[in-house]
């Protein structure tokens, strides 16, 4: 896999195509085709790649029954909001993740009993990255692209803790019980993993 090189520029909103691996750039280009030309073939590629992963997310999150509904809601948002995506702010997978997370929360809220009086929209509580609410510098963004490698470098027990809490939507109590460790130990692992990820990200920026 091609490694992205280091960028020192702090200029925001500057697209820097030469610094991305081809795969990252591919999704950016496809999404731009969708945004500017309503290109269905480009969207088909995005759909074919991401829909099965959104489905996997839904199943991991314990919302398997609504998994296909979640996929459709998310892909509809991606199609309709493609022009809101800015490649200087987040990778396509991060952008789609934030939309997926919010749609999952929407599904949960609709299924719960409290929807009638809710006056705060999910999108107000969890903002999708956009030009005006994002502080990312190009540097941070370049560092984020190393994340997949950094995650694989975490000690296994930390990686498992992160995946369970972050990706399976489980509470700390549930994860601690599953792993048969005290709650404090789980929190310790989570903190350590966040520190390690940060250190690894910073080291790669030098």
């Amino acid at each position: 896999m091609a490694q992205t090189s280091v960028i020192r520029s702090k200029v925001r909103h500057m697209s820097a195509p030469g610094t991305r691996d081809q795969d990252t750039q591919k999704w950016v280009d496809l999404l731009h085709q969708v945004a500017h030309h309503r290109d269905r073939e480009a969207f088909r590629q995005i759909y074919d790649h991401f829909a099965p992963r959104i489905k996997a997310y839904a199943m991991n999150q314990g919302v398997s029954q609504q998994a296909d509904e979640l996929v459709q809601e998310v892909m509809t948002s991606v199609w309709r909001s493609a022009d809101k995506y800015a490649d200087s702010l987040a990778s396509v997978s991060t952008w789609i993740f934030t939309i997926t997370r919010n749609q999952r929360i929407d599904l949960l809220r609709k299924a719960g009993r409290m929807q009638a009086e809710i006056k705060v929209e999910t999108e107000e509580l969890w903002q999708i990255p956009s030009e005006d609410n994002t502080v990312s510098s190009i540097q941070q963004l370049s560092a984020q692209r190393h994340l997949s490698k950094s995650i694989s470098e975490l000690p296994e027990e930390q990686m498992i803790a992160v995946k369970k809490v972050y990706y399976e939507g489980k509470t700390h109590q549930e994860v601690a019980a599953e792993l048969n460790i005290p709650l404090g130990t789980l929190k310790g692992r989570l903190r350590l993993s966040m520190q390690k990820l940060r250190v690894m990200l910073e080291a790669k920026e030098l």
Binding site: G62, T94, M114, E117, K119, V120, V165, A177
Partner: protein, 214 residues
């Protein structure tokens, strides 16, 4: 610039979407006022994006791409064409009148007034309110059975553990007994979220926590 922030595990839960709605409101209000935490959140969101990209794909059963597009074409575009907001948003905006003065405060004591938001927001076992403490006034000493999260919207206060200003995110759990005192010169207005004092374990959690209900 805010000096007290949610800890990184709270931000992580928020980013993952597994923090309760009421706690998430407190975090979102802090994020509105804190660029540092917005930066940290972006990294956490990128973690989510990476995990999404790495997951093992599962076949979508209901329909293929062409059917999906047919359905999409048949649906009218909603008037507001997108749910993706662009501007930085104060999540309290739609819950409150334009100014703090216009809030129908309910007097608790001569120094403390409250505006309850619980009905508009939360599920069971959680209390969400705005509190206004008169400049320089002391809140009677108290402790909590659950965790109390406070985000300062205006003014500031101090207690045995520190001095807090606008934007600060302060958590106190049952082990703290504290006596907050509003800073001089200005009334202190804050958002307060009091969590369920009940400790849910394992499978029961999903049944009892409305946010996780299915």
């Amino acid at each position: 610039m805010s000096g007290y922030h949610p800890d990184e595990i709270t931000l992580m839960d928020y980013s993952a979407g597994s923090l309760s709605l009421a706690q998430s409101l407190a975090v979102a209000v802090h994020l509105f006022m804190c660029g540092q935490c917005r930066g940290q959140l972006e990294q956490l969101n990128a973690l989510g994006g990476t995990l999404l990209a790495q997951s093992d794909p599962q076949a979508v059963e209901v329909q293929g791409f062409d059917d999906f597009m047919d359905t999409l074409d048949a649906k009218p575009e909603p008037q507001i064409t997108t749910k993706v907001q662009s501007r930085l948003y104060n999540p309290l905006q739609n819950l409150l009148p334009d100014s703090f003065d216009a809030i129908p405060w309910r007097k608790q004591t001569k120094d403390i007034a409250e505006y309850d938001l619980t009905k508009q927001l939360a599920g069971q076992g959680v209390r969400v309110a705005l509190q206004k403490i008169r400049a320089g006034a002391k809140v009677p000493p108290h402790s909590h059975r659950g965790q109390e999260t406070t985000v300062i919207l205006s003014g500031g206060f101090s207690d045995e553990l520190g001095v807090y200003h606008k934007g600060d995110f302060v958590t106190r759990d049952a082990s703290h007994r504290h006596t907050p005192t509003a800073l001089q010169n200005e009334d202190c207005i804050c958002l307060t979220v009091l969590d369920a004092p009940i400790y849910f374990v394992s499978g029961f959690y999903r049944l009892l926590n409305p946010f996780m209900r299915w």
